[in-house]
Every structure is written in structure tokens, then in C-alpha cells.
Symmetry: C2
DNA sequence: GCAATTCTGATTTACGTACCTCAGAGACTG
DNA sequence: CAGTCTCTGAGGTACGTAAATCAGAATTGC
């Protein structure tokens, strides 16, 4: 049987009230006594029963999730997952609120963060767009005891924060490894379509991609990125122009949003032209279709549901002062071909 | 605030004891009264607070995990993950026991199942090797109220069971999709190395693999599988013989155990010979190395840690009579290239 | 040496559920 | 009509912890 506070009290030769004070860092205990209690805790291997503690406290975890608004399919999927997890979390005394902010807009994000009612808020998860104002807002929240987790895209160090998302450099390298092999020894150029070079995740993917292509596929040239800014039409137009302007394109890496436009541009190519190998990101409905009909060869994905559940677990662990299980909280870079789409 | 049993009692106009009898399916309540209580539960949206219930019951979940013994790296990794989860689960009133049985041996597995003390056992997770005796033993366990989950390899229907593992047919199809592209249009034959055609997961992978190669890569021939029987030396020897006997091999799919032998056989080939594209299963230490030095092009993996945690969650949900969240419990087919190895 | 202050102990209530006992109401049997 | 049986209510204790109150002990300041 696990030891309880009663056992600790007995072992330390103090009362239950004293053990409670030590455990909950309340004042009124001599340092010598604190040490006696802590020794007893260590000796017995006592661990607080979080379920019982939360019951006694009638604790409610209150978390806010901040996501960019707009047409970005991945973000909308993320939002759905947050809603779903929020519904289920009700049963576990967890209250989750979603706050939407304009994308690519540090000032708006900072304003949203500063507008949060910190009194009964225990944690914030946000898709970070870095800016000094945002960092200041996060530091302020943290000083008020709010735990912070970055989602999908990371941001410069915030004390004691945690990042839930994939390693985007590795994702870019992986895309390069796949595309390099899919191109199959042909020489030529590779086009890049990104959402915006102003968000860190896209920049990192490009960096990783270029590094591997340069090192391992000397026959391949990578063109400068086409910026679609989360708009399918823009992305499609830019790609169409590039495809029309040159005939040496053998591969395409679609780094971020705007897949719908990319798919249309590719489908409009004449069927007699040689196949362009394509690796894209995020397994949305459009991407699934493109995989099924051969327009995309592979899709790299991060599972939004996993990310949301992981963020919630991490926030809870931090609030409860428990360790985070890294192996469980690592978000994998998922690769999908036509054959392993779930 | 969530409604409690008290609210339900008041709403139904009965006493707390009666609500309790209904909730816990104890005798002594008229069916008409049961209905009144259930209506109130539905109307209020009452859900039992599992944490409080477990506290009150001083419940301890007792689970047995049955895994094959022997040198199979994946199984040893699985066992480590079970131990790890077991240690952590202690804090959540969960006691996990590991039972090892000889591999590929239905009779031994059935004997182990029949030897389980069912009195205080709430669930069993097993790497299934199907046989009538095993199925009978599982049915018996299930009649005694023990929940059953199959791990990694599934088995013919057991009432109310659950399978935690990847879709092995899809894994084989995925391997074919990768290998077909990696071979890069060359014609030739593909070798298959399996553990045993007596376990269902390996058979399914081969089926999926052959189907895609036959349909999409007409230039490629697939050789009959070489059975290594979880023994690296055997697998290595068989592959070496095949490689020596023919020079038209352009690809290899290593379906199961024995990767160490496969890797050695491949490394011993003269460096002047053309590259053989290789897709293998399970990201063990040897496989990581083979990815790093280019011996393997891709590794398909199932995350043993996820599987164990999923099995525990599913067993708990079943014991508590709660629904299983399918999206969370689906085990992904992971693809690793050199660049996304964690 | 007395008061004020700080520390500690004992005890109680609460969280939401499980489970037990005891008593009584009502229906049925013979 | 007494006796039995089934159903229901009332109330209590327990699970492990949090948090509060009150009282007594030890320490400090003056």
C-alpha cells in the first residue's frame, strides 16, 4: 500500500497538520521540523495522491488556448480538436476556453494575452508569433503564476515554458530525404511554396530542407520560396507562374498553408509532362485527396489531436508540480503515403 | 458545476441510497424507480466522478501483460516500456505484472492465461498467437469479468476485446509504396525476410506489400519470404544465400525480427555493387544505425510506449465502463528516414 | 518575568462516491 | 391477521488530502 500523509506524520513524529503545512509550503513550521518531515517523505517514498488532492481542493483547471483565425485548414482542425478535448475535459474538472487572434500579428496576440483574466487562470497554450510585446505579455502572465505552453510554432525562451510541436528543422530534412529519393536521380530544380517566412516553423522547415538537398543531392537546385500567406489563390498563382516559366522542375516542397491552390496548379499541368514529385505538409482533406490521386507523393503531418492532448497534460503536470514524461509528449513527424492514410 | 449523486437523488425524488443502488447495479430497487433515477441522470447529464469513485473504492487496477520471451528486440523494448509504465502507474493505483511465454507457442500462451489468478485481476493485455486453446482461455477470462486487449498482433474475435496496434496490411502497403519509389524505375526482384508466417502480423504485412507491388510496380518481382524465426543468424544466412544466388535484387523488405542478421548480410556486400533499397520494420538500435549509415532507406515503426500506454488507458476505460476515444487510441504507422529519427 | 509572537498539535469539515447497517413501509402469503 | 419478503430511506464511515479553527508550547523581545 502506498504511504499516506498519516504515515508520514507518524514517521516524522509530527502531526498531520504539520505535514500538510510542509507539503503545501505554508508558513508556520520550523526549518528543522520541515527537514524531519521531508526526510520521512523521502524515506517512505510518499507521493501525494493527486486525485484525492484535487477532490479535496475541488480544483478546477482553467486553461486558455490561443489560435490564429483565418482560412488555414490546419488551424481550423486544431481548433476543432481543442473543442473536442474541451468537451471531454469537463469530466475531469478542466475548463478550456478558445481565443482567436488575427494571424501573423504580434500586437494583436500580445493584446489578447494582456486581456486574460489571470485570477482563476492556471495555464495558457498559444500558437506563438514572436514579438517583444508577446514575450513581455508572457513574462507577465508567468509572474502571476500562469503556466505557458507554445503550440505548433515555438518562440524565444520564456522562463519555464514548454513547446508542444514537431521539430521543424527535422521535418524539412525529412521532406528533402523523401523528395530526393522520389525524384530518382533526375537532375533539375525544386520549387518551394511557403505560408510566410515571418513564422518560425516555415523558416526552419526550409532551412532543414535546403541543407539536406545541398549535402546529398548535388544534382538538385532549390528555388527561392514562393510566399502564399495562408491564401490558396496566391499560392496557386505563384506556383502556376513558376511552372509556366521553366521546364526543369522535378520536385515541389509545399512547406505550409495554401495546399488547395498548389493542388489545382499541379492538376492543371498537361498529363504528358513528366511527373513532379511532391511532398507537402498537413494531412487535411485536400491533401488526402491529392495523395489518393497521385498529385502528392507524401505528406508530412503533425497530429493536432495529439498536440492538444499533450498540451493539456503538460499544463496539468506543471500546475500540479509533477514531472513531464518526455517520451509521451514528443510530437512525431508523421509521414503519409497513399497507403497509410488513416 | 457538475451535478452529483445528491442532485440526482433530489431530482428523482428518491434517497441517496437508492441512486447508489441504481448506479452500481445493486438489487433492491423496483424497475419503475430505476427508471425514474435514470431519467434524472440523463436529464441532469450526471457522470460519475471516476476519481472520487476510485478513491472511495480504494480500487486498484490489476493488469497482466503477456509478452513472448526470446531475443526479439521489439519485444524486449515492449517489455521495457511495460515496466516503465508500470512504475509510473503505481502512483495511479495501477498494478502491472509482466508474464513471459515462449514465442510462437499457442499451448504455452493458453496455459499462462489459464494460470492467471482471476480473483483480483481486472484486465489482460497480450501479444496474441492465435490457437483454439488460446481463444478458449480468453473466453473463460472474459466470462470471469477480466477485460482483454490484444497488443501488436491481433487474434480472431473475442467478445468485447480491443486491438492495440498498427494496421499491418496498411504497413505492408506503405512499405511497398516506399520501396517502389526508392527503387526508382529499375526492374528486378525484391526479397522478403519475415520472422514467421505463423504470426498474423507478418502475414498481413506480406499480403499488403505484394498487393501494391503487383498493382503499381509491374517491373518488380517479389520472391517468396525467407523465414528467420526471430533469429538474426538464420535470417542473415538465408539472405546471404539469396544475394549470392542472384544478381537482380534491387530491393528488400524486412518484415519482422532478425534485422541484425539482415544488416550484416547487406554490409558484407561489395561496395561496387548497385544499392539495394531497403525498408525494414521496428526502430531498434540496430535499425537506427543502419538508417544512419545508409544500409536502410526507411524503417516502419510502431511506438511500443504508445501501445503500452494505450493498452492501459483502454483497459481502464473498459473497467470503468467509459467509452474509448478512438482517435487517441489509434496506433500510427510511423515512417522513419535518416532525418526524422528521434 | 511577562507579554507578544511564532511554531506546533489536535480536531473537524469538506470533496464525491461506495458501501454498510438499521428501520420502516408496503405488498403478499397462508 | 401475523408473518415474511421486497423495496426504500436515513444515516453513518471510509477513501486521501486540503484547509480551517483553536489551544497549547516554545521562543522572542523588552
Amino acid at each position: 500500500m502506498r504511504p499516506t500523509v498519516h504515515d508520514v506524520a507518524e514517521a516524522a513524529g509530527v502531526s498531520l497538520a504539520t505535514v500538510d503545512r510542509v507539503l503545501n509550503r505554508r508558513a508556520g513550521v520550523r526549518s528543522e521540523t520541515i527537514e524531519r518531515v521531508e526526510t520521512a517523505i523521502a524515506r517512505l517514498g510518499y507521493v501525494r495522491d493527486v486525485a484525492a488532492a484535487n477532490l479535496a481542493k475541488s480544483r478546477v483547471y482553467r486553461f486558455a488556448f490561443i489560435v490564429p483565425e483565418g482560412p488555414n485548414s490546419f488551424m481550423r482542425g486544431l481548433e476543432r480538436e481543442i473543442e473536442l478535448s474541451g468537451l471531454r475535459s469537463r469530466l475531469e474538472r478542466t475548463d478550456i476556453r478558445i481565443i482567436k487572434v488575427p494571424p501573423f500579428d504580434g500586437a494583436a496576440l500580445a493584446a489578447a494575452l494582456n486581456g486574460l483574466e489571470t485570477a482563476d487562470l492556471s495555464g495558457v497554450a498559444l500558437v506563438a508569433a514572436g514579438s517583444p510585446a508577446v514575450i513581455a505579455a508572457l513574462e507577465r502572465l508567468h509572474r502571476r503564476g500562469v503556466e505557458i505552453v507554445t503550440l505548433v510554432s515555438d518562440i524565444e525562451v520564456v522562463s519555464r515554458s514548454h513547446y508542444v510541436g514537431i521539430d521543424n528543422v527535422a521535418a524539412g530534412r525529412t521532406a528533402a530525404g523523401l523528395l530526393g529519393r522520389f525524384v530518382g536521380g533526375r537532375a533539375g530544380t525544386i520549387a518551394l511554396v511557403v505560408g510566410s517566412m515571418a513564422v518560425r516553423d516555415h523558416v526552419e522547415r526550409c532551412d532543414g530542407f535546403r541543407a539536406v538537398i545541398a549535402a546529398e543531392y548535388p544534382g538538385l537546385d532549390v528555388l527561392p520560396p514562393l510566399e502564399g500567406r495562408d491564401d490558396a489563390r496566391t499560392a496557386g498563382r505563384l506556383l502556376r507562374d513558376t511552372l509556366a516559366a521553366r521546364d526543369d522542375i522535378v520536385g515541389l516542397y509545399s512547406v505550409g498553408a495554401g495546399n488547395r491552390g498548389v493542388i489545382e496548379a499541379l492538376r492543371d499541368r498537361s498529363a504528358s509532362l513528366p511527373h513532379i514529385a511532391v511532398v507537402a505538409h498537413e494531412l487535411t482533406d485536400h491533401a488526402r485527396q491529392a495523395l489518393a490521386d497521385g498529385t502528392f507523393d507524401a505528406v508530412i503531418n503533425q497530429d493536432a489531436g495529439h498536440e492538444v492532448r499533450s498540451a493539456i497534460r503538460v499544463l496539468k503536470a506543471k500546475v500540479d508540480g509533477l514531472p513531464v514524461i518526455d517520451a509521451q509528449e514528443t510530437i512525431r513527424i508523421e509521414i503519409y503515403l497513399r497507403d497509410n492514410v488513416p
